[in-house]
């Protein structure tokens, strides 16, 4: 999808100015999209978004275990995820507390991928974590899960890892 769009925009009128510095940190042609200078084009194509800025915002709330490139690509493929993840911060904090580390990592299977969002809890966590997670589901996730296309999964992890 990204490649197709990039090809569509690779015409003289949309080609970026040569005066602008080009730093291609992505192995796919995302830089072409990021340098489109027509506001109308950006609005029409839904590319008035700054993916790096969005990633920065997510990193203020989540510990992201995968590469920037991987996460940005997923955010592009599924534009709802950024808003969902940002909206999820408060209800997660309301239930689990404000000082928790919340990890995000990509899970890959042969046929699928998912984004796993896991609140990290100490083994001596006060309260039943499963009830806490259910509270989060009832308070927010059940009303919003239809927006993630099945990609997001919220869970908790107790720190008794081997």
């Amino acid at each position: 999808m990204v490649n197709q769009l990039a090809t569509a925009f690779d015409t003289p009128q949309y080609r970026p100015s040569r005066e602008k510095p080009v730093i291609n940190i992505f192995p796919f042609p995302l830089h072409k999209l990021a340098m489109c200078s027509s506001p109308l084009l950006e609005k029409q194509a839904g590319f008035a978004r700054n993916w790096i800025s969005e990633l920065d915002s997510l990193q203020q709330h989540y510990l992201i275990l995968d590469s920037d490139h991987t996460i940005i690509k997923i955010l592009q493929e599924e534009p709802n995820l950024y808003e969902l993840l940002m909206e999820a911060v408060k209800p997660l904090e309301d239930v689990f507390g404000t000082s928790r580390i919340i990890q995000i990592r990509v899970q890959l299977a042969d046929e699928d991928y998912m984004l796993r969002v896991a609140v990290q809890l100490p083994s001596n966590f006060e309260g039943e974590p499963e009830h806490k997670l259910n509270s989060f589901h009832e308070a927010w996730w059940l009303d919003n899960c239809h927006r993630s296309g099945g990609t997001l999964v919220f869970d908790y992890e107790l720190r008794d890892a081997i």
């Binding site: 699928d112 059940l142 899960c145 919220f154 008794d160």
Partner: protein, 129 residues
């Protein structure tokens, strides 16, 4: 006679205290496939059409799109159990928790209770904790 997918749950339950990583991973896979087949049969009652490609994520997403909160919960629960199954079958990193099998057994019980409630059926007998 058709295979009863709940046999998978019983096998996982019988092995729930085995500390070997390989056994715990196997348990997570069997729990998932019990829940998956139960979910699939429920979805077919609701006129689910099998997608051409993977039906796992699509199935749980489809449940999550329902307005009925109990059906939505099936999607959320199924998705969590699927997430564990992906880790158990595709990720070499050690499993996150020693308690993960017990946790997923409880989730599977919750899932089968919801399905039974939705179908107006008596739920299967609970396995001993």
């Amino acid at each position: 006679m058709q295979f009863d997918w709940r046999e998978f749950l019983i096998v996982a339950h019988e092995s729930r205290n085995d500390p070997r990583e390989s056994v715990r991973r196997t348990c997570l896979g069997r729990i998932y496939y019990y829940v998956y087949h139960l979910g699939l049969s429920k979805a077919q009652l609701l006129n689910w059409q099998d997608p051409k490609q993977s039906s796992h994520k699509a199935l749980w997403s489809w449940f999550q799109g329902y307005s009925d909160p109990d059906i939505k919960k099936l999607g959320v629960l199924g998705s969590r159990i699927y997430s564990s199954r992906i880790d158990s079958d595709y990720r070499a990193h050690p499993l996150s928790s020693l308690m993960i099998v017990s946790k997923r057994l409880r989730n599977a019980r919750e899932f089968e209770l919801l399905v039974a409630k939705s179908n107006g059926q008596t739920p299967p007998t609970a396995l001993t904790p």
